[in-house]
């Protein structure tokens, strides 16, 4: 598989980072400085590419998902601005509480928001097109 480098210029400058590595789950605040990602797990990031990674702020999310079947990596940028143009009936805002073991740490909020973007399929059923995680 081609090596994949996380395009630092596409990330929100500051926000939260969540990823599933082979042996652990990482969820912590990060910052982009001088073209590099600064966070506790940055060493891990250099050695290993997680199955999927989310970098999100209040208004934007950058996500990458490794797709082994096609040997590619799917990259997505989801923004609040896009949502302003979407049909509000197809957007569903969900708020979840963050577990204490994470929210107790500095920089991690007590709640996270997920904006679910729905669409209608050919059969007129409601299908989840995508979602954006937000602070």
């Amino acid at each position: 598989m081609m090596p994949f480098n996380i395009p630092v210029e596409k990330l929100p400058e500051k926000g939260l980072f969540m990823a599933y590595f082979k042996d652990c789950l990482v969820f912590e605040p990060y910052e982009v400085k001088d073209g590099r990602i600064l966070c506790e797990g940055s060493a891990l990031l250099e050695n290993e590419l997680p199955e999927e990674g989310h970098f999100f702020s209040e208004t934007m999310e950058y996500r990458f998902v490794v797709r082994k079947s096609r040997k590619d990596v799917i990259e997505l940028i989801l923004t609040e601005d896009e949502e302003k143009k979407m049909d509000p009936d197809l957007l569903f805002y969900d708020e979840g509480l963050v577990r204490e073991e994470f929210s107790a740490k500095e920089g991690i909020p007590g709640r996270l928001r997920v904006i679910n973007r729905y669409r209608y399929s050919e059969n007129d059923t409601l299908v989840l097109k995508n979602y954006r995680i937000s602070m």
Binding site: Y20, L25, E52, V65, R67, K68, S69, I74, S121, K129
Partner: protein
């Protein structure tokens, strides 16, 4: 292979076992055939023996595998044999004063429990643990309860037992192998815990991920090498082959479960209305015949040491799967299982559950390419399939599955769906793995089936999709698909069969044969004796009135029974038992 040997010097019984029968205060846990299977690991840790890093299997009587096979045969002929089998190993006493019964192991018996260590542990570490265990065991003289004749006196020792289960596999130097088929026989109840599922809280098959994890540890396969290893799910076997999930298009008729409707085929009579009943979690060997036989793995309740109640797959069932890999990996796998046939899988494995015996069935090379043409063909998902669309989201519709097929055959946009039966499965494994922080993944459920053909009706070479893996998590057995040319037959028949127990053949040692033969002979004699005493019971009243024995004795019937149950017994013995029965005071 090292085992713990337990000799019963006095009689032994336990309290608080999960399987205490009603009316019994102290009981012996037995398997489905009535043969004792004792969670000796639990007993020993309760007595203070340090079992950290050692897994102790259940204790079974000497020659258990052979005995189980014979017990199964006897019970299928005479279902009442089960109480006599129990009686071969245990005594039952009813205590009038206390108003309960006690079942205890007879004295003078030998029981064995296998010891397993962590996969990949060093020889030194294992030897050290064995020494410590030997010392601890020598101090234990009694287990279980102590009351009256049930003294609980036992003696423990560590012994080296033969690897009875291994049939030596010869691999050719000329071949380049690519797959190994294996069978896993459950020796103790095995649980793959899934607390959120509808139905039993165990997976009804061995997930490919479990096998892959085992191999990864056993062979120290890391990183890139691991990408080549594909472990399918091990589904229940019928004694000869791996059974596969019944496709979603097969449903039974609710009011007559012998009728099956294979709804993807044409030919439905629109004037008939029937109510369907699903066939999920059922496995079949053949979806092409008119009569489809299916089976469902059996489960039982178990309780772990910390009190969790769960379902577990009943011991004795076999599960079959395949591992695909490079030639070097396949050879290493075969070598590993020849040395370590007994291993522990699943949840609660440290407590002795999940003890299994792995047997290599076949080692195969890659089949040479061929052209297999079909006008219309059925693609069936044999395992849960996760496809990711261009937005990184799981794609779960039939059209998405078609898109993947077109991609593999390089026929984008040329195929069309004639008929489809799909389902969605919510997979909680990431959620459980990451302690409920992981996502719950929606994927195409196993059993999903599509009937596909080309839009321009030309035939298609289906060889690339005859049996392959698609989508994500393929290394763990996800995305296994199979394609067959389409068959007619909407109206079919169905028959449910019980799973095959102890249907794996092992080479028999002379000792094993002798133990099994003795077991069968004695159980049959006990059945015969009980039958004869039953005859005597009927005649007892007349005997008491003074009718002589010679007139009462039903010689013909006695001889017939002798022929049926124990032709080797001297006739004199039967007559003695009959007379004893006449004179007996007890009922």
């Amino acid at each position: 292979m090292i085992s713990i040997e337990m000799r019963t010097i006095g009689e032994v019984s336990f309290e608080n076992s999960v399987k205490t029968t009603e009316g019994y205060h102290y009981d012996i846990p037995c398997d489905r055939f009535g043969i004792p299977c004792i969670p000796i690991g639990r007993v020993l840790s309760e007595l203070g023996v340090d079992l950290k890093g050692v897994t102790v299997g259940f204790a079974h009587p000497d020659g258990y595998m052979g005995l189980a096979v014979e017990a199964g045969k006897m019970i299928s002929q005479y279902p009442e044999a089960i109480s006599f089998i129990r009686g071969y190993f245990t005594n039952t006493r009813f205590l009038e004063k206390e108003n309960y019964s006690v079942r205890s192991l007879k004295s003078g018996q030998r029981y064995f429990a296998t010891l397993s260590f962590s996969v990949g542990e060093s020889e030194q570490s294992i030897v050290a643990k064995e020494e410590a265990l030997k010392a601890a065991l020598s101090g234990i003289k009694k287990i279980g309860v102590n009351m009256g004749e049930v003294t609980g006196e036992v003696s423990f020792s560590l012994v080296e037992t033969d690897d009875l289960f291994v049939e030596h596999q010869t691999l050719s130097d000329l071949c380049s192998y690519h797959a190994v088929d294996y069978s896993v026989l459950l020796v103790t109840p095995t649980c793959f815990y899934q607390p959120y599922a509808d139905g039993p809280s165990t997976s009804l098959y061995i997930p490919g991920g479990v096998i892959r994890e085992l191999l990864r540890k056993a062979l120290s396969i890391e990183g890139e090498d691991g990408e080549e290893l594909i472990c399918t799910n091990a589904y229940i076997g019928d004694g000869q082959k791996r059974l596969l999930p019944v496709p979603a298009c097969a449903t039974l008729v609710k009011n007559d479960k012998t009728q099956l409707r294979y709804r993807i085929a044409p030919g439905r009579d629109p004037h008939r209305s029937e109510q369907p009943a699903g066939l999920s979690d059922r496995y079949t060997g053949d979806t092409e015949s008119h009569l489809i036989t299916y089976t469902s793995p059996e489960t039982e309740r178990i309780r772990s040491i910390d009190g969790t109640m769960a379902d577990a797959l009943t011991a004795g069932q076999t599960f079959r799967g395949t591992v695909y890999g490079s030639d070097e990996q396949i050879r290493r796998i075969v070598e590993y299982f020849q040395k370590h046939a007994i291993t522990n899988l699943g949840t609660f494995a440290e407590e002795g559950f999940g003890e299994v015996c792995v047997k290599i069935d076949a080692v195969r090379e890659q089949a040479p390419k061929a052209t297999v043409l079909a006008d219309t063909f059925d693609v069936c998902c044999l395992s849960d399939t996760l496809l990711l669309n261009e937005e990184g989201m799981p794609a779960v519709s039939a059209e998405d599955l078609l898109g993947e097929i077109e991609y593999i055959l390089n026929m984008q946009g040329e195929l069309t769906i004639e008929s489809k039966y799909t389902g969605i499965y919510k997979d909680y494994s990431k959620n459980i793995r990451w302690d409920h922080d992981g996502v719950i993944v929606r994927c195409i459920a196993r059993g999903a089936i599509l009937r596909v053909k080309r839009k321009d009706n030309k035939p298609v070479n289906i060889f690339p999709i005859l049996h392959t893996f698609i989508g994500e998590h393929v290394n763990e057995g996800w995305g296994e698909i199979r394609t067959v040319p389409a068959r007619d037959g909407y109206y079919r028949l169905a028959m449910q069969t019980a799973p095959a127990y102890y249907a794996v053949s092992f080479p028999d040692s002379l000792r094993q044969m002798k133990l099994s033969a003795l077991f069968v002979a004695i159980v049959m004699e006990d059945i015969l004796k009980s039958r004869i005493k039953g005859l005597a019971l009927v005649d007892r009243e007349e005997y008491r009135k003074g009718v002589p024995v010679s007139e009462l004795k039903p010689e013909e019937i006695l001889m017939e029974y002798r022929e049926r149950y124990a032709p080797q017994l001297p006739v004199r013995m039967l007559f003695e038992w009959y007379e004893e029965g006449l004179k007996d005071d007890a009922v």
